[in-house]
Amino acid sequence: MATTKLGFIVQRPPYKSENPKLALTHAIASQSVEVYLNDGDIVTADIAFVGDGVLNCKKDQKAMDLYKLTSTETHVKMALLLDLNVLVCKEDLDRFGLTENDIVLNAEEFGAEMTVKVVPFAEITKMMEGVNHLLFF
């Protein structure tokens, strides 16, 4: 019975690259990884949005309407629904003049109990220190 903790760090804005979306879909895959592991072994995935990456969390993305593409907003909501720990850097939101009103905070409509945590960068550093491996996107 062992736990391996992974930290996914999203540093770039959405859409111009596939990376932020792949960060979220790979992190979500932590919920189905058991099929490859021994009983009781688990992998956890924390996700942190930093720098321009916080722009992924903007509310009301219309990617599906306009480009028939799942929005990163929807992927963030899926991560919450699957009980992942989602951190957003407060200093970076401040830098862009964004508040909690501007970003995805929960996925109540899907019945998710987890909520996005807006935290100082120091908290994200702590997460990075605490995980076994880091994946920067």
Binding site: L6, E18, N19, L22, H26, A29, L37, F136, F137
Partner: protein, 119 residues
């Protein structure tokens, strides 16, 4: 000797990130490490067989097959490949295809992970 999991997501023929990843994987194998290579996103292009070897383009099929014979495990993200039209029958022999959780499972008991995202 340890286990080394390398993930490569950035792919463009021309970005040379896959060239880097394959060379690094080969070097780690030579030093006696166990190496898993995961390709996702555009990097799944690596799994496609029948790429013509022009000198103007990165061409990794041959070095990859040599490394697989030396024990390299290499796996492509199945959904990323399918979305691009790279189906099972187009895949280089020995190249595995799995869902994304395979990568996380590989990281589970890895001593080191190098995730090449970027771009």
């Amino acid at each position: 000797m340890g286990k080394f999991t390398i993930g490569c997501f950035s792919s463009l023929v021309g970005s040379m990130s896959l060239d880097f990843a394959v060379k690094l994987a080969g070097t780690a194998l030579e030093k006696g490490h166990k190496v898993d290579l995961w390709v996702s996103g555009n990097a799944t292009m690596l799994s496609l067989k029948g790429q013509r070897a022009f000198k103007d383009y990165s061409h990794l099929e041959k070095p990859l097959q040599e490394l697989m014979q030396k024990g390299l495990t290499v796996t492509a993200c199945e959904a990323c490949a399918e979305a691009r039209g790279y189906h099972k029958e187009h895949t280089i022999e020995g190249f595995k295809r799995h869902s994304m959780d395979w990568y996380l499972a590989s990281a589970f008991d890895a001593d080191r992970v190098l995730h090449i995202g970027g771009e």
